[in-house]
């Protein structure tokens, strides 16, 4: 890190590591906590880092948005990025993605594991796509031991579907089991029948 003063390098690299994996802007306070330094220090390091990227004519920049920091592409390479986004993006949602979106829309807030239990297959990749498209977002955490992230649909989702709220979604015609019922069902399917009073007859 040539253009950065040596006393900043360690903290700067740690911030780079965190921001490269972050999908949302990371608040100064959270960075401070992770690095065990003060908020002022974080701001100082980030400002220096940002200036060094600019000076080194990098293709990315360290931007301060919404009270936090994030990596984003440099405006100078907007053309490349636009072409990439247009070329590379699948033109329609895959059936798996649409199914997952429907599940999230009707069952929100819902965790990845609960979506997987309903779909019968792992849904992590699909949820990531939906999240990167801005159709679903984390809306909270489960109270349970794992504190699983719970997902819900976004404003963009409502706009694209042309409705005002998820309450405007058509009601489902049939009885829809709640998530725990589906999980119990899934468990039974995997491990064999659970003896119940009914089954005894």
């Amino acid at each position: 890190m040539n253009s950065l003063s040596p006393d900043l390098r360690g903290d700067a690299a740690a911030i780079e590591a965190v921001l490269i994996v972050a999908t949302e802007p990371v608040a100064t306070s959270l960075l401070a906590e992770l690095l065990e330094v003060s908020g002022e220090r974080v701001e100082h390091v980030c400002a220096s880092l940002s200036a060094s990227y600019e000076e080194e004519e990098r293709g990315f920049e360290l931007a301060r948005v919404a009270g936090g920091y994030r990596f984003q592409s440099h405006p100078a390479y907007r053309g490349h990025v636009e072409r990439f986004v247009v070329d590379d993006a699948p033109q329609r949602l895959s059936p798996a993605a649409l199914e997952t979106l429907a599940i999230v829309a009707y069952k929100q807030p819902i965790s990845r594991a609960q979506v997987a239990a309903i779909r019968g297959v792992n849904a992590d990749g699909v949820i990531r796509v939906l999240q990167s498209r801005g159709y679903v977002e984390p809306v909270g955490r489960d109270g349970g031991p794992g504190q699983a992230v719970l997902f819900g649909t976004t404003q963009l989702f409502l706009e694209r579907l042309g409705i005002d709220s998820t309450g405007d979604l058509p009601p489902l015609g049939q009885f829809v089991p709640d998530v725990s019922t589906v999980e119990a069902l899934e468990h039974v399917l995997r491990t064999g029948p659970v003896p119940t009073a009914d089954a005894e007859e």
Partner: protein, 303 residues
Amino acid sequence: MAYEVHIDVFDGPFDLLLRLIAAQQVDVYEVRLADIVDAFLTEMRRLGTLDLELATQFLLVAATLVELKCRRLLPGSGEVDLDDDLALFEARDYLLARLVECKTFSAAASVLALLERSAQRSLARRAGPDERFDRCAPDLLAGVTPEQLAAVAERAFAARPLEPSYVPYPSGEDVSVHATIEELVSSLPGRGRVSFRVLTAGAASPAHVVACFLALLELYKQSLVDLEQSETFGELTVVWSARGPVEPADVVSDAYDAAELEAASAGMAGRRVVPRAGSGRATPVGATVPQRTPGPTDAGGAR
């Protein structure tokens, strides 16, 4: 380090017992396997730790003993003779090849685990384009109506169809007799005389050969093929003998559940041996009924 057994008829290393039995110096009939297994388990519990090497050796010898004893107990099987002894040695060669292969892949697996662990020390960037590029990303929901989404949701929430019950071959491969019958019905006519060896030359596994054999028996039963074999273990010749065209569905629906056939031909339940529910058809010897889901097809099926 060898495990020693102490039973009425023998006192010494476990594998020596096997060799004495093979040499007919101890009658396998007199050996109570349950006692040996109990004693071994007690010893294992006493040791507190599992010695994998010892346990594996024990399993190998015990399994061989079980096999010998089965042969001795089953009516019609003679004394353990030299052929069996040779077969035992062939089985061991096979086992050796398998052990070497197993060791190879478990070593490879540990390298994969290492790679995985080292890859996990880094996390990939997954953020995607920021909001400045929202307008270039095509609207993936274009044309999707709330009603369509509701329909997709209903399908997703609907109970999934239960898997049809099935009995896999011991090899673990699911092979469809239906599919094989269908294939034979479409390929045999006009082919003249063809040997079973030729028919199964491209078979991927013994299970496929068995499936082909079962399929031929079914066709034979329905007088669609003639089978000729001039001597025991000799070449088996197959001739298509049906008059007029035959549809695969006509053949299969008699022996197997038609719904299963549909599923199989749709590629959904392909490569499974599905005994017709309630047919009372015996499961193949040695086949195990896996843990499976309860379903309507179970009503009068396997017990």
